[in-house]
């Protein structure tokens, strides 16, 4: 073993990893789309419904107290896992997309005016483009895009030049879902803060792969999704600095986010409840709490080191294949191997890989501007998690050779 991670043992924690198709195991390399769940997470959700089920924050009866405690306990564990200073800064959402929409909507309505500028990057997922375009159009603002080089690295000098007195917010991804690039968030946050500009970080593709501490990253807002970090679907986290969250209007109105309602006037609840309208995904929060415990028990630094090794191994396997071009070759890169082949469209690559029992994603990965930047209609993308192995990458490379046999 050249790593401290006992991957074979960890693989047993994931029921979906033993799924078979046509008698052969499924090599799951689509982790950037969603990750598999360990049994403890599946059981936590199940256990909640069996033994703790009630609505939260209405606690007059025993079960409601139990549910509320489980919910708020999970909030604290998730807060610590992400390095969030205060538990009231830890807001539950449906996922990264809703987190970004929340900030874009609330912040935009309050702080973005005609002629103001919003800065995003050339490698954003559609969920960190479209909400800001909506703000731009509604508030008559401008959207500015940080360019990148041919390796898929942001041009930080250009970014710094872009910032000015009209810049109202920077929204950028920590790790690119289409390229794997890891962006220098701390540096970018410092540059923004020098001018008093807040920065939102899309952490969806970072949290499952890197140790995260939002305070150290220096971001003002941070969003991520439970289902990409070995937790359930339909639950996400939004961190916002309390000083900002207190200034922002609520995103959705409803139950649980109020202090007092009359037909004349409503007083809103304090943080975090002001941003959690309606009955939350209680079981999802509880299970996400279990997921972060699980990740912590392994150690994010170990996970990052092992995945780095895997990524290098995969790169060395794929790079020499004739007619194959890797899209996204940044020096700082997470476990995303996106590529095109000279004679086969990504969709056909995906189809034949599937036939070989290798699950990848083919398409534009909700990052069409990235495809346009690299002049490709789509890419085939293998994306890794800590439970993947070198043997699985061998299977990927072997399947790619099969594609070439059909199409070359």
């Amino acid at each position: 073993m050249d790593t401290e991670l006992d991957v074979e043992r960890l693989r047993h924690d994931f029921p979906a990893l033993s799924l078979k198709r046509k008698g052969q195991p499924i090599v799951y390399l689509d982790n950037a789309a969603t990750s598999h769940k360990p049994l403890c997470v599946i059981e936590a959700e199940n256990r909640f419904y069996r033994t703790q089920n009630a609505n939260v924050h209405r606690g007059i009866h025993y079960l409601s107290e139990v549910a509320t405690e489980a919910y708020e306990e999970a909030r604290k564990r998730i807060q610590r896992f992400l390095g969030i200073p205060l538990s009231c800064e830890t807001i539950f959402t449906r996922g990264t997309t809703e987190g970004i929409n929340l900030v874009a909507n609330s912040y935009g309505r309050k702080f973005v005016n005609e002629g103001d500028e919003i800065v995003i990057s050339a490698m954003e997922h559609h969920s960190n483009i479209v909400p800001w375009q909506m703000v731009r159009d509604e508030r008559k603002a401008k959207l500015r895009v940080i360019p990148m080089n041919d390796q898929g690295e942001l041009l930080i000098d250009e970014y710094e030049k872009m910032l000015n007195d009209r810049t109202k917010i920077v929204a950028v991804t920590y790790v690119s879902n289409a390229l794997g690039t890891i962006n220098p968030i701390r540096m970018m946050a410092d540059m923004a803060h020098k001018r008093g500009i807040p920065i939102l970080v899309d952490g969806a593709q970072a949290v499952p792969h890197l140790p995260i501490n939002v305070a150290e990253l220096g971001c003002d807002f941070f969003v991520c999704s439970g289902h990409k970090m070995f937790g359930p679907t339909g639950i996400g986290v939004m961190y916002g600095k309390a000083e900002w969250l207190n200034k922002l209007p609520p995103y959705q109105g409803g139950g649980d986010m109020i202090l007092n309602v009359t037909f004349d006037k409503t007083a809103f609840a304090s943080l975090p409840y002001k941003f959690e309208a309606g009955t939350p995904n209680i079981a999802g929060v509880v299970a996400l709490g279990t997921a972060v415990d699980y990740l912590q028990s392994i150690g994010m630094d170990k996970i990052a080191a092992y995945e780095h090794e895997l990524t290098e191994y995969g790169t060395k396997l794929l790079e020499p294949i004739e007619g194959l071009k890797l899209i996204g070759t940044a020096k700082a890169k997470a476990g995303v191997l996106a590529f095109v082949l000279e004679n086969a469209h990504p969709h056909d690559i995906g189809q034949i890989l599937d036939d070989c029992g290798v699950a990848i994603r083919a398409g534009h990965h909700c990052a069409q501007p990235v495809m346009q930047r690299f002049g490709v209609p789509a890419t085939a993308r293998a994306s890794l998690a800590f439970y993947n192995t070198k043997q699985e990458l061998d299977a990927l490379a072997e399947a790619v050779m099969k594609v070439k046999k059909v199409f070359d």
């Binding site: 469209h345 969709h347 398409g363």
Partner: protein, 154 residues
């Protein structure tokens, strides 16, 4: 009829490599763009009509082997046909690719189109196979709006 027909029949691979009528047509009487927003496939279909007869068909764009070869095969079948005949051919083709994998294929009736029978095993690829046809019909209808695979069931 062997079961489990291959998706990538030789004919399909060959049309993918060397698509027929893969060209612009400045003199086209009508054209239409077809998109598959889910995967980024994008074709423009050009049709030249003389009275009720389709005189020429060509296409441009990029997409997977299924969508590209389907467009290519389509262009080879439509020249000299009336609009009604083109529609009838599409109904047949559509019926075949959306049938159950066990259904019989009447190769005499379908001719060259029967190479796409493998699509029945991969419902996800039906949209790839029918994209060019939908665009061709939209062109004949004189619809300016781009066709997308998401605007109808298949």
């Amino acid at each position: 009829m062997p079961e489990n027909r291959a998706l990538y029949e030789q004919v399909i691979l060959e049309h993918n490599k060397k698509p027929r009528n893969f060209r612009d047509m400045p003199e086209a009487s009508c054209k239409s763009e077809g998109y598959n927003p889910l995967c980024g496939d994008h074709f423009t279909i050009y049709v030249k009509v003389n009275g009720d007869i389709i005189e020429d068909v060509s296409f441009m764009g990029a997409g997977c082997a299924i969508s590209k070869s389907s467009a290519s095969v389509m262009t080879t079948l439509l020249k000299g046909k009336t609009r009604k005949e083109a529609e009838a051919l599409f109904v047949k083709f559509h019926g075949m690719v959306t049938a159950s994998p066990e259904a019989d294929i009447d190769e005499n009736d379908l001719g060259r189109l029967s190479v796409f029978a493998g699509v029945r095993e991969f419902p996800v690829r039906i949209k790839c196979a029918t994209l060019a046809w939908h665009s061709m019909l939209a062109a004949l209808d004189g619809k300016d709006a781009p066709v997308t695979t998401e605007s109808d069931p298949s």
